[in-house]
């Protein structure tokens, strides 16, 4: 049965699946990349404009600046105020958002597909002609500080932030995308404009469009809107020392009903040869309801409510995180049981059935995550900004299929050797 699944997925990725999608890619003269995917299924269109700008280029002193730039950006353009822009987008049955992330920042927009031209126009206007009115900076900072506070009040979010800070140390992946009240306090209007100018250059940008549109029409419009932007030249990049898992155990306290337990280590980047094997390892441990943590800790022993593993693809070394949310009274037992599962996967080779299940799950999820135009557009742009090429999905699928029990054992020993732990204890 699994074999059938994999065979089908192969078809889905190699050929064009039913009812979907041809795609076209073009690099404009100024270096900006445009990718269009025609998908006739529903009368909608999604746009993702990714820019190589994010936490990865930030320092503790200006942490959160990439996201802050986008918060001020959406407050208005040379042509219209933020409220007018919101009004105009709403009239398309659409939405437009902008935010910073780790390896990139994104302007994301979608609308009824009959308004694709207007939507693309607003995306370009926001990206290329933001107003950055000095009067907006303080209000946006206050608003972001409120969000930081809200995130700190949220036990799982706080636990993840503390975990990454501990795990990554001086590497910028330790920083929070939102920044801190202190770092945002140091970012003024001039810093925001300078940061925008440093990164919003056509060579650093990818525009991806997916939906009920014509690729030729979208490409022509994209050339018209973005083609005149002059090249900005290369941005000097700092080289950072590779992060090392410190192997420490930290406990933080805050008011909450649930205890949070995070255990993990530094893992490969998305283009590393071990990436697929660690993805499989992560799935075996915490991939859904048939993952070991869920089955052993939640289903069999009732020691945790949430039991999962996370390993997200990023440009520099990633993090494999095993996560439990549990009642405070169960926390000690749950952590012990989690460590036993780590020991087991580092000692005993995984069985053939379990390995096949994990692969089916992983690849099935990969396909499932591409059901909406918004996700499709994001993936198309993501592969470009991460520099892995549009054949990445296919290479990844083959790499996952090739993973053996020996590979899983090897990467478990390698990447789950020095464990870093963060426990959030209700106060």
């Amino acid at each position: 049965m699994i074999q059938t699944t994999l065979a089908l997925l192969a078809v889905a990725l190699l050929a064009t699946p039913v009812g979907a999608a041809a795609q076209t890619r073009e690099r404009l003269d100024n270096g900006l990349i445009v990718i269009v995917r025609e998908n006739p299924v529903a009368p909608v269109v999604a746009v993702s404009l990714l820019v190589k700008m994010g936490t990865r280029w930030e320092e503790p002193a200006n942490a959160g600046i990439s996201n802050f730039v986008h918060a001020v950006m959406v407050r208005g353009t040379e042509k219209r105020s933020g409220a007018e822009l919101a009004e105009a987008i709403a009239a398309l049955g659409g939405k437009i958002t902008a935010a910073g992330d780790v390896d990139y920042s994104e302007i994301r927009a979608s609308a009824l597909s009959r308004f694709w031209r207007e939507l693309l126009g607003f995306t370009a206007e926001l990206a290329l002609a933001p107003k950055f009115s000095p009067g907006e900076v303080d209000g946006e900072r206050d608003w972001l500080v409120g969000r930081i506070q809200k995130r700190r009040d949220n036990a799982p979010a706080r636990a993840f932030d503390e975990f990454f800070a501990t795990l990554y140390g001086v590497h910028p992946y330790a920083l929070q995308v939102l920044g801190t009240p202190e770092s945002l306090g140091r970012v003024d209007h001039a810093a925001i404009v300078a940061w925008y100018r440093r990164f919003y250059r056509p060579e650093r940008m990818t525009l991806a469009v997916s939906g009920q549109v014509s690729a030729a029409e979208v490409l022509a419009e994209a050339r018209r809107l973005f083609g005149d932007l002059p090249r900005g030249g290369p941005v000097s990049e700092l080289s950072r020392p590779a992060p090392m898992s410190p192997g420490t155990r930290r406990v933080v306290e805050q008011p909450a009903q649930q205890a949070q337990i995070l255990v993990g280590g530094i893992a490969p980047s998305l283009d590393h040869p071990d990436h697929a094997a660690v993805k499989v390892l992560s799935t075996i441990l915490g991939g859904g309801m048939a993952g070991r943590l869920f089955v052993e800790l939640r289903d069999k022993r009732g020691l945790a409510y949430t039991a999962a593993a996370y390993y997200d693809p990023v440009r520099e070394p990633g993090a494999l995180v095993l996560y439990l949310g549990t009642a405070p009274g169960n926390a000690a037992k749950a952590e012990e049981a989690l460590l036993q599962e780590v020991e087991r996967v580092r000692t005993d080779p995984v069985g053939a059935d379990e390995l096949q299940r994990a692969k089916g799950y992983l690849l099935g999820r990969y396909t499932m995550d591409r059901r909406t135009n918004e996700r499709q557009a994001w993936y198309l742009a993501f592969y470009e900004v991460e520099g892995v090429g549009q054949d990445y999905a296919e290479r990844y699928r083959r790499a996952v299929e090739a993973v053996t029990p020996g590979d899983v054992l090897r990467v478990a020993r390698q990447y789950l050797g020095t464990l870093t732990t963060l426990v959030l204890r209700p106060r």
Partner: protein, 471 residues
């Protein structure tokens, strides 16, 4: 696998991204680092839409009734090579007696635990091994069990759903273990101020009607819950006439019926016995609650009783809700947040159920602004009553509804959900005609429902106040 305690507001299904940035203030969150992924999972786990309506579809589904009463709804949808299979039960939290709160939700948790031919754990393993997903949701009027699987597994998927519908075995050891899981789920809702605010608002607005009860139940009852109680409730409610099977995906509808005849078609006919509910209470100034909470910011929730599903007013109430608080350009956002800067975030939602509907307005704000913000919200509504809404606002609300529908039907499961919800709490025909009906509503009709339902006194109010804060 979770109970539904999502906010009303059917317009923002659990997976939806909020409209533009300010609401997308919350957008920054999902995008945030890897912590964001967890949050998203937690949100999904805890939510099911509890409202009922959706605009209608362009392509029509087929609807058939099997001889034993099972309703089968099928539509071909070739967005990807998957099929969504959903079993909707005409049964939910409102069918529980006052001394068995939480049974419907507990059954939701236990159903995937096994049948005589499927040992505990094997169901999840099977679905995930297909690369598919499973989920289940409990609401007040309905409960549903969902799979999305690659289309070549449609036969196994339908067979599995039929097996679960009548042969769930409720293994005793699993029942005990699951208690801890349900208690944790209760904690999770209490930890999330937005979910808990809606929970309290519903409780305050509806009590003693079942819509005011906690779907997860009460700890005392769950603690002592027995297998007999579960099995008895299950046998009583899981009868063919209460079952709606929805199949949407890359399938030929003609091939589905035989698969269903051979499985669901064999279930012995039996009549359902739904529990009668007490009348829904009127809201007045006595429905007020202040709750001390650990968060540093305050939360404000107001709720007005409005139209239930099946009522002609739902179309106008729906548009009014959009106009009041759906997007950054909505009235509450523009006035209370943008101009007066009294709240960090504000939105309106409409939860329409079979026996009653509720429009909620919820906001996050500084504790010092609680009184002013409430007065400002009432002012905004007063102005709609007095002066009505503009043609531009009406038009935009219709476009928003159309867009919301278009994005829902991008996925097979989104379309299946709208059909299942409509069939169990409304009618499929009403669902299919919904967008057309919305387009026909005038600005005067919107003003009329504002006058009919929204007063200065007839609302419930819940406030979350930071511990130790003075107000």
């Amino acid at each position: 696998m979770a109970a539904s305690l999502r906010g009303p507001g059917r317009r923002s299904p659990p997976h939806a991204e909020p409209l533009t940035r300010r609401l997308a203030a919350s957008n920054a969150a999902p995008l945030l680092l890897r912590g964001g992924a967890v949050l998203l999972v937690l949100l999904l786990a805890g939510c099911a839409a509890i409202g009922g309506l959706r605009p209608g579809a362009a392509a029509k589904p087929t609807r058939e009734v099997l001889p034993n009463g099972v309703v089968l709804i099928v539509q071909e949808h070739r967005a990807s090579d998957v099929v969504a299979l959903q079993l909707w039960m005409r049964m939910g939290g409102r069918d529980e007696a006052a001394d068995e709160l939480g049974l419907a939700h507990y059954i939701e948790h236990m159903l995937f635990k096994g049948t005589p031919t499927r040992p505990p754990g094997s169901i999840d393993t099977m679905i995930e091994g297909f690369g598919g997903t499973s989920n289940a949701f409990t609401s007040y009027d309905t409960t549903h069990y969902d799979f999305v699987v690659p289309v070549e597994h449609v036969r196994e998927g339908i067979g599995l759903l039929a097996d679960l519908a009548v042969n769930a075995s409720f293994p005793p050891g699993e029942i005990e273990n699951e208690k801890k899981v349900v208690f944790e789920e209760m904690n999770l809702i209490e930890d999330d101020p937005e979910k808990f605010l809606l929970r309290r608002l519903y409780e305050l607005s509806y009590s003693p009607h079942p819509y005011g009860r906690p779907l997860l139940g009460q700890r005392e009852f769950i603690q002592t819950l027995t297998r007999d109680q579960l099995a008895q409730f299950y046998r009583k409610h899981f009868v063919p006439k209460s079952m709606v099977l929805v199949v949407v995906g890359a399938v030929d509808p003609a091939r589905v019926r035989p698969l269903v005849d051979a499985t669901f078609g064999r279930i012995a006919a039996e009549s359902p016995a739904r529990r009668a509910s007490p009348p829904v209470p009127a809201l007045d100034r006595t429905r007020r609650a202040d709750v001390a909470r650990a968060e540093k910011q305050a939360y404000l929730g107001l709720a007005w009783r409005t139209a239930p599903t099946g009522n002609e007013d739902i179309y106008a109430v729906d548009l009014l809700t959009y106009i009041l608080g759906d997007s950054p350009s909505s009235r509450l956002n523009q006035t209370v947040r943008e101009q007066q800067r009294l709240v960090a975030n504000i939105e309106a939602g409409y939860g329409a159920f079979e026996q009653a509907g509720l429009v909620t307005v919820t906001a996050r704000l500084e504790p010092a602004n609680l009184e002013k913000a409430e007065a400002a919200i009432l002012d905004v509504i007063r102005k709609v009553r007095a002066e009505g809404v503009t043609e531009a606002e009406r038009h935009r609300a219709v476009i928003t509804a159309e867009s919301s529908y278009a994005f829902d039907i991008e996925t097979a499961e989104g379309l299946a959900k709208s059909y299942g919800q409509a069939e169990t709490t409304w009618t499929l025909d009403n669902e299919l005609a919904y967008l057309a009906r919305l387009r026909g509503i005038t600005a005067a009709q919107i003003q009329a429902v504002a006058r009919k339902y929204f007063g200065d006194d007839n609302y419930a109010r819940v406030r979350f106040v930071p511990e130790g804060a003075s107000r």
